[in-house]
């Protein structure tokens, strides 16, 4: 559509011109045609009137005399002549021959001459009239010119003089009859008035000769068949001239418009095309359309220049911004790496406790934080915290908090003091009101006693014996908001086999495609059933739940597990195995009240001595299993063997047996343990002893 304006303009001019030309041609040809017709009628009328008055004034006596003679012949032979007017003669000569006998009486033939009517040619006045008729016919372009005698009674026109056009054979002899066909002619004849009738392109004018008293009429006809032709020619010329003129005008307008508008628009178009390719090619520069015109297009060109300026400005600022953003993104990536590298890896094991950590960072730097380290040989410190917000502010705050936590944990005497000091440090200068939710724990890795402090963080979940419960019902304030807030730690004793899960909201608030949260219940269910790698199982479950939905938050977990029961399985046992079991169990109980630990050794010795000495008799593949399970300060010892069913506890009721060799042992067992329970489970004897390892106060 590049030359669309030009095309439109051309079409518009053509349409307008054609309409104008058509209108002009129609109107002018109508006017022309009318004037031609009017002229034809006028010339016809004038010719008839002029001949009539000429005859009246100059040939009066001739014509009346002549008319009387014709009238006499006509009246005598009227019926025959009327009939003859309908004849078709074979030739001019036949007609001449026929009419000669009627004219003989009028024009007596002279000697030496031929036919009677030719005698008329020798009549001077007849000749003069004929000359007038010739002249009038010639100048007016008449077709026929005749002078009639009018027989009013019979309505017949009787020829007196008929001009013979050159070369014509249709000469009407005097006395031949003609019936006037036109009603208006008849009316004019009867009323003795002049009339011109129009019949298509033929005109007929009738004028009475005044002196003849209504008997002699002049009759002229004009054939104007050339009028439509000349009108067409006129129209054609008009059309051609107008077309030529409008084409010339249109061309001028077009050239002018082209020069003024289209060329400039093309220039603008080319400039904008060049500018577009400039933009595509790296270092764009301004392209001037170079239009000097002071009209609207010049204005448009100026605006185009302004637009280029602003686009170039925008592009350069965008490029700067993009470069800046790329740099920031690279730095952010680095920051996220540094941040995650600042967190400890590989877990920590001490005494009966093992700690495993898990961190799956979201895309940007975050505020999740955990740490763990030993405060001394047996006390393990661990914490999991979440800084409010995301991005750089959160991560900076998090790094600061991490260093504070580490230094304060070592220097403070209690968890309450630690949290108090940490909170005040974080409050100081915290204009942004960034806060931290956290869970801190200090675990005695030997006894399993754990002091903990929950500051607004998610409640950790404790798995014990297949059941999962949330701990730390009461929460302290979040950190970093309330200065001088008091923090009160809580205490719980962890047992062998316990698993404590700490997590940030990235876990429970993980969402799937239907915007459902992973939630606490799914965490608890997964934790309850997890074997071995608990954090791995939880993350796997989270990923399975979330599917492809993008996760926006870090997923951070700490799992603290207490070494499970000491389990010793002995096949084909002998007495030396007692020593092995005793060493292992007493080693596991290191740190408890030594007397009670010693008493536990007696329990093992007595029960295993019994099992080996008596219980396993007859067993095909003798096997003893000893389990130790610590819960708080209570030790649970489970002894199993596959010997015959035997309840060692029942024997003691028998006084004699009690005093027998083996009886001492059972007495000691009952005395040294806090509870005893025997059961037969299939082909297994199971004796369960519980012993409190702390001195009762």
């Amino acid at each position: 559509m590049r030359s669309s304006i030009r095309k439109k303009l051309l079409l518009l001019i053509a349409a307008l011109s054609l309409a104008l030309i058509a209108a002009s041609v129609l109107i002018s040809s109508k006017l022309y045609s009318d004037s031609l017709k009017r002229g034809a009628m006028l010339s016809c009328t004038e010719a008839a009137d002029s001949l009539a008055s000429s005859i009246d004034s100059e040939h009066y006596s001739f014509i009346t005399g002549y008319a009387d003679k014709v009238k006499a012949v006509y009246e005598e032979n009227r019926e025959e002549l009327e009939e003859a007017s309908g004849y078709e003669f074979e030739s001019f000569e036949k007609r001449e021959e026929y009419y000669s006998r009627f004219t003989e009486g009028i024009f007596p033939p002279r000697h030496g001459l031929g036919l009677s009517y030719e005698m008329l040619l020798f009549n001077t006045e007849y000749h003069l009239v004929l000359d007038s008729m010739d002249m009038l016919s010639y100048t007016g372009g008449m077709e026929t010119a005749s002078v009639f005698y009018y027989d009013r009674a019979n309505g017949n026109l009787v020829y007196l003089i008929d001009r013979m056009p050159e070369g014509s054979v249709r000469y009407n002899f005097p006395v031949s009859v003609k019936k006037p066909g036109d009603e208006r002619l008849k009316a004019a004849l009867d009323g003795c008035v002049s009339v011109t009738t129009e019949d298509g392109v033929d005109y007929a004018s009738l004028s009475p000769v005044p002196c003849s008293d209504g008997r002699v009429f002049v009759y002229f006809t004009k054939h104007a068949a050339e009028i439509p032709g000349s009108v067409r020619l006129f129209s054609f010329y008009t059309f051609a001239i107008l077309l030529g003129a409008t084409l010339a005008i249109g061309l001028v307008v077009l050239l002018f418009a082209d020069r003024l508008i289209v060329k400039n628009i093309k220039k603008l178009s080319a400039a904008s095309e060049r500018f577009t390719s400039e933009i595509g090619g790296g270092r764009p520069e301004k392209v001037s359309a170079d239009i000097g015109a002071g009209d609207e297009i010049g204005d448009l060109s100026n605006k185009f220049d302004l637009m280029q300026d602003s686009i170039l400005g925008y592009i350069s600022s965008l490029a700067e911004k993009t470069a800046r953003e790329e740099k920031i993104n690279a730095e952010l990536e680095l920051a996220a790496r540094i941040q995650s590298e600042a967190l400890p890896r590989g877990g920590l094991s001490a005494g009966r406790a093992s700690l495993a950590s898990f961190l799956k960072p979201a895309r940007e730097v975050g505020g999740d934080l955990y740490d763990y380290f030993m405060l001394d040989e047996s006390r393990m410190f661990f914490c999991l915290a979440d800084v409010s917000g995301k991005g750089i502010p959160a991560s900076l705050f998090m790094m600061r908090a991490k260093e504070l936590i580490k230094s304060l944990a070592v220097s403070c005497g209690s968890l309450g003091e630690f949290a108090f000091t940490l909170n005040n440090e974080l409050c100081a200068g915290n204009e942004e009101s960034i806060f931290i939710t956290a869970f801190f724990g200090v675990l005695d890795t030997a006894s399993g006693v754990m002091f903990f402090l929950r500051a607004g963080h998610e409640q950790p979940m404790l798995r014990r014996g297949g059941k999962v419960t949330a701990i730390g019902e009461e929460s302290n304030f979040v950190l970093g908001v309330f200065e001088d807030a008091e923090f009160i730690p809580d205490e719980i004793a962890l047992c062998g086999g316990d698993a404590l899960l700490l997590f940030t909201d990235g876990l429970n608030e993980g969402i799937n495609d239907r915007a459902e949260e992973f939630g606490y219940q799914r965490i608890a269910n997964t934790l309850a059933g997890a074997q071995g790698d608990i954090t791995g199982a939880l993350y796997h479950a989270l990923c399975g739940f979330c599917g492809d939905a993008e996760q926006f938050d870090d997923v951070t977990m700490l799992v603290l597990t207490m070494d499970d029961d000491l389990t010793l399985e002995i096949d084909d046992p002998d007495y030396d195995d007692i020593t092995k079991v005793t060493d292992a169990v007493l080693g596991a109980l290191y740190g408890f009240d030594p007397e009670r630990v010693s008493e536990t050794g007696i329990l093992i010795d007595e029960v295993m001595n019994n099992q080996i000495s008596y219980g396993l008799e007859g067993a095909a593949a003798p096997r003893i299993t000893v389990r130790l399970r610590l819960c708080e300060s209570e030790a649970e010892l489970v002894f199993e063997d596959n010997g015959r069913a035997f309840d060692p506890l029942s024997d003691v009721t028998d006084e004699a047996a009690a005093l027998s060799e083996g009886g001492f042992g059972i007495r000691l067992v009952k005395s040294m343990s806090d509870s005893q329970h025997y059961e037969r489970d299939g082909d297994i004897n199971r004796l369960t002893l519980k012993k409190c390892l702390q001195k009762k106060l």
């Binding site: 007495y575 010693s598 040294m672």
Partner: protein, 99 residues
């Protein structure tokens, strides 16, 4: 366990160490059998004994029977609370001379 056995005039002093249970009592019994202890008073110094089980008690009962039969005495000294409790529970605190 290797107990220290010292003869000093008419007295033999036995100093066991650690646990006195099924295994160690059997070992101590063998160790005593190798020594010529006839006609000597027995003194068990339990200074280093952590605890004693019924097997250990049976060894003490056996030694006491033997020394009594020879007209000598057997005494036990420096017992810790655990051992004292075992003696009490088993009723041997009345049968043994505990110094």
């Amino acid at each position: 366990m290797e107990a220290v056995i010292e003869k000093n005039g008419t007295t033999v002093t036995v100093v066991p160490e650690g646990r006195l249970d099924t295994v160690t009592s059997a070992a101590l019994k063998e160790q005593l059998a190798c020594c010529e202890t006839a006609g000597l008073d027995f003194v068990f110094d339990f200074e280093k004994v952590d605890y004693i089980s019924s097997a250990g008690l049976r060894l003490l009962v056996a030694v006491q029977k033997k020394t009594r039969a020879e007209g000598h005495s057997m005494s036990i000294k420096n017992i810790n609370p655990v051992v004292r409790e075992v003696f009490r529970v088993s009723g041997f605190n009345k049968a043994f001379t505990v110094l």
